[in-house]
């Protein structure tokens, strides 16, 4: 399709952002606020804040299956049904509409709607430190990050001041403090474990999770009301999402155009200018191809989809995909592992309970391989995330007995217990990859993505260590029936995919430079998970947001200087 004259004008913007999830939402807000007329594309439907949260206020008995999903959903859409329930299934992509190839088992959970997975994310917000940014260089693994903590620190401040992150300052070098709203609070059993850990281990502490749930009203959004139903969408705006925060802010500038139902099939490369001219879109309502043009393009479609778009964008200059001179596009796929941990029961404090449903747990920041001389049989580290509660009816449902005495047992709070698991770093391996399979197509005629991923020795050794240290901390704090576990979940299960278009200093070994700018095509920027050179062990979204704001600032200044 060729567009010229006025039609082309209507399809021309200052900037295009591909994908409206957590990083795309930020790109849209930043670019719009800097005065750029911005087109925000998403492959799914629009989800308007509050209005489209259909299930947000329903009671358990309002759901036909009380939260369960019918068998047919599990049979036809095992991934979607495996990650969702009756209340939030609408925010996860259907397997049958969006197939992909698992060369090894890999669960690719997607949120195909405006807002993407920012509607259903876990909301944990942790800064990286130089322990993370320097790790590749120190160990000679993969390539060096082109940035250090000092390059991103101010941008963490910047995004936190808008997101609204509740948390406690702990003064740790490996987990820098942020600009926090008041922290959520630990309950009795968590405080007990925290005290025990503090008294027993030199370099460990337990703190409340740092989360994008508001402990007071913030930027026009209401405080979290402790319902713990975040994944349905929050009618009070109690947690951060593109829908509740960045998209409304971008819209308020008058510079934003949102176009849902738009699958980007490729980025159009202009050989004469050596720049990207725009994007080609499949309109999923009409099946038509449409082109849009802009001076700056941000590809934030999420790690795997972004890599796929680049690989599909072939030209004479880039026969292996846009910006893929290094051959690294699609490689180095990472996902945190979160399979190993321990749980135990605490016999005591029976006179205490809690009220309300706090939407987060606790964090034990990384305590392994902090010191360069330390050796634990594996590289890098993990943090421990967990929660303490009293056993409730679902945990007690199959206790022995029948009749009034059984009823009494299940309607009273049971003993306190703690469940906790390690969220561990995954090293970048070149042969953990995403590729296109030209022999199979989706319903829009686009080649399917094939994913080949596995955890290796380093991750497996780390899981063993997680089991040991978690068991030790619980036993040491007087917990009983302490059981360690390893769920052996496959890649993708933690939903922290990253690494498929890594940043680096050298164009021959990386795709993006230190400003998330494509080495080879200066007006293309990528600041979703695909830009990550290593994975650290922190939940990554906050870092994507900070990198995005920083990249937008750089992109606009380069535009003004006439460099792009």
């Amino acid at each position: 399709m060729n567009i010229g004259g006025k039609a082309k004008q209507d399809h021309t913007f200052d900037a295009i952002v591909v994908g409206s999830g957590i990083s795309g939402g930020w790109a849209a807000r930043e670019l719009c606020q800097k005065g750029l007329r911005t087109l925000l594309l998403d492959r799914g439907r629009n989800v308007e804040h509050i209005k489209d949260y259909d299930t947000a206020l329903l009671n358990p008995w309002d759901f036909k299956y009380r939260g369960a999903l019918p068998r047919t959903e599990h049979e036809r859409n095992p991934l979607q049904a495996g990650i969702s329930n009756e209340a939030d299934i609408q925010f996860f992509a259907r397997d049958e509409d969006h197939p992909y190839i698992q060369e090894q088992p890999f669960t690719w959970y997607r949120g195909y709607q405006v807002g993407g997975r920012s509607l259903t994310w876990g909301r944990q917000c942790y800064r990286w430190s130089d322990l993370d940014f320097e790790a590749n260089q120190r160990e000679g693994i993969s390539v060096d990050w082109p940035i250090r903590y000092r390059d991103i620190a101010a941008w963490y401040d910047y995004v936190e001041s808008f997101v609204g992150v509740s948390g406690r300052k702990e003064g740790l070098a490996q987990l820098p403090d942020g600009n926090f709203l008041p922290p959520m609070e630990l309950n009795c059993v968590e405080k007990h474990l925290a005290q025990s850990i503090k008294g027993s281990y030199e370099n460990r502490l337990l703190t409340i999770a740092r989360v994008a749930n508001l402990t007071r009203g913030w930027e026009g959004r209401g405080a979290c009301l402790n319902r713990n139903l975040c994944s349905r969408g929050c009618p009070y705006g109690g947690y951060f999402s593109s829908n509740s925060a960045t998209i409304p802010a971008a819209m308020a500038t008058g510079n934003l155009t949102i176009r849902p139902f738009s699958i980007v099939s490729e980025v159009i490369y202009d050989e004469h200018t050596a720049r990207a001219a725009g994007v080609r879109v499949v309109d999923t309502l009409t099946s038509e191809n449409v082109e849009f043009f802009a001076k700056i393009i941000f590809v934030n479609a999420s790690t795997i989809a972004t890599a796929a778009i680049l690989l599909k964008s072939k030209s004479n200059r880039f026969p292996d995909g846009l910006g893929n001179d290094s051959g690294q596009v699609g490689r180095n796929l990472m996902d945190h592992h979160s399979s190993a941990g321990a749980m135990g029961v605490y016999d005591g404090m029976k006179e205490f309970y809690y009220k309300g449903r706090r939407p987060c747990g606790f964090l034990i920041p990384r305590y392994r391989n902090i010191d360069a001389n330390e050796s634990n049989g594996f590289l890098r580290g993990y943090n421990v995330q967990g929660v303490g509660k009293r056993k409730e009816w679902l945990d007690q449902a199959v206790m022995p007995g029948f009749g009034p005495s059984f009823k009494d047992k299940i309607t009273k709070p049971g003993p306190w217990f703690v469940w906790m698991a390690g969220w561990g770093e995954c090293l970048p391996y070149q042969d953990n990859y995403v590729r296109l399979d030209p022999s199979s197509k989706d319903k829009w005629g686009l080649p399917l993505v094939a994913i080949n991923f596995s955890f290796r020795d380093n991750e497996k050794k780390m899981m063993e260590d997680i089991k040991d240290t978690c068991t030790d901390m619980l036993t040491n704090a007087g917990f009983e029936q302490v059981d360690s576990f390893n769920y052996n979940k496959v890649g993708g299960s933690t939903i922290h995919e990253m690494g498929t278009a890594r940043m680096g200093r050298d164009p021959s070994t990386s795709v993006l430079n230190g400003f998330n700018q494509m080495h080879a095509v200066k007006n293309v920027f990528i600041s979703d998970g695909s830009c990550m050179t290593s994975s650290a062990c922190q939940n990554p979204s906050l870092t994507y947001m900070a990198l995005t704001a920083r990249a937008c600032d750089y992109a606009v200044s380069e535009l003004k200087k006439g460099n792009i």
Binding site: N59, P60, W61, K64, Y65, R66, G67, A68, L69, P70, R71, T72, M184, E185, L186, N187, C188, E190, K191, L225, N226, R227, N228, K350, E351, F352, Y353, Y354, K355, G356, R357, R358, K389, R390, E392, W393, L394, A397, V398, P400, F402, G403, P404, F406, K407, I410, T411, K412, P413, G414
Partner: protein, 191 residues
């Protein structure tokens, strides 16, 4: 493989095989039941559920309509294997009640009903957690565990169960991390 290891592995294979066969006989061969039986068994299901969670000072499973939930769940959500295991469990309850108390379960008195269920519960475990786990992994949970879980879920997510049997806190507003537990405090119905 040395001799000691060989003997040990033969013993464990023997135990596992024995368990498997025993369980297979018990849980599989009695599964010649039809899906259409489900609706006809609603009265039985209702009295089983109400025996597990009877009306006391708060509503019981009967009043909370738990049987409808169980039938709906088994029809639409359960796998075929889960459903037939459940249905054959119902048959065995009826057969046992008739043999032992000369009446189908629904018409037994409360004390006899509890005797029947207690007998099924005792039979549902080997008394060794790991063997139960292997059994559940290979054949699925025994009928009595299915029944209990469905009854508890159905009750605790029903309006009557959640709001009057348990404590329902629709919009908590604040989180109180450590409050003193009063004697009449019920467990929260959602978490």
């Amino acid at each position: 493989m040395n001799r000691r290891k060989f003997i040990l592995s033969m013993i464990s294979a023997g135990i596992f095989g024995g368990v498997a066969l025993f369980v297979f006989k018990k849980w599989h061969f009695s599964a010649n039941v039809q899906v259409s039986d489900l609706a006809e068994r609603r009265e039985l299901i209702a009295s089983l559920a109400d025996t597990i969670i009877p009306g006391t000072s708060s509503p019981g499973a009967g009043e909370a309509g738990v049987a409808s939930y169980i039938v709906l769940y088994l029809n639409d959500c359960a796998t075929e294997n889960e459903r037939s295991r459940f249905l054959s469990g119902l048959e065995r309850v009826t057969a046992y009640a008739t043999r032992k108390f000369d009446a189908p379960f629904e018409r037994c008195n409360q004390a006899d009903r509890i005797r029947i269920l207690t007998k099924f519960e005792r039979q549902s475990t080997f008394g060794i957690a790991i063997l139960d786990k292997i059994r559940d992994r290979v054949f699925g949970e025994p009928f009595i565990i299915q029944l209990k879980r469905l009854t508890v879920v159905g009750y605790c997510t029903s309006e009557l169960g959640a709001t009057r049997g348990l404590a329902y806190d629709y919009i908590p507003v604040v989180y109180e991390p450590c409050m003193a537990l009063t004697p009449d405090q019920r467990v929260w119905s959602t978490n």
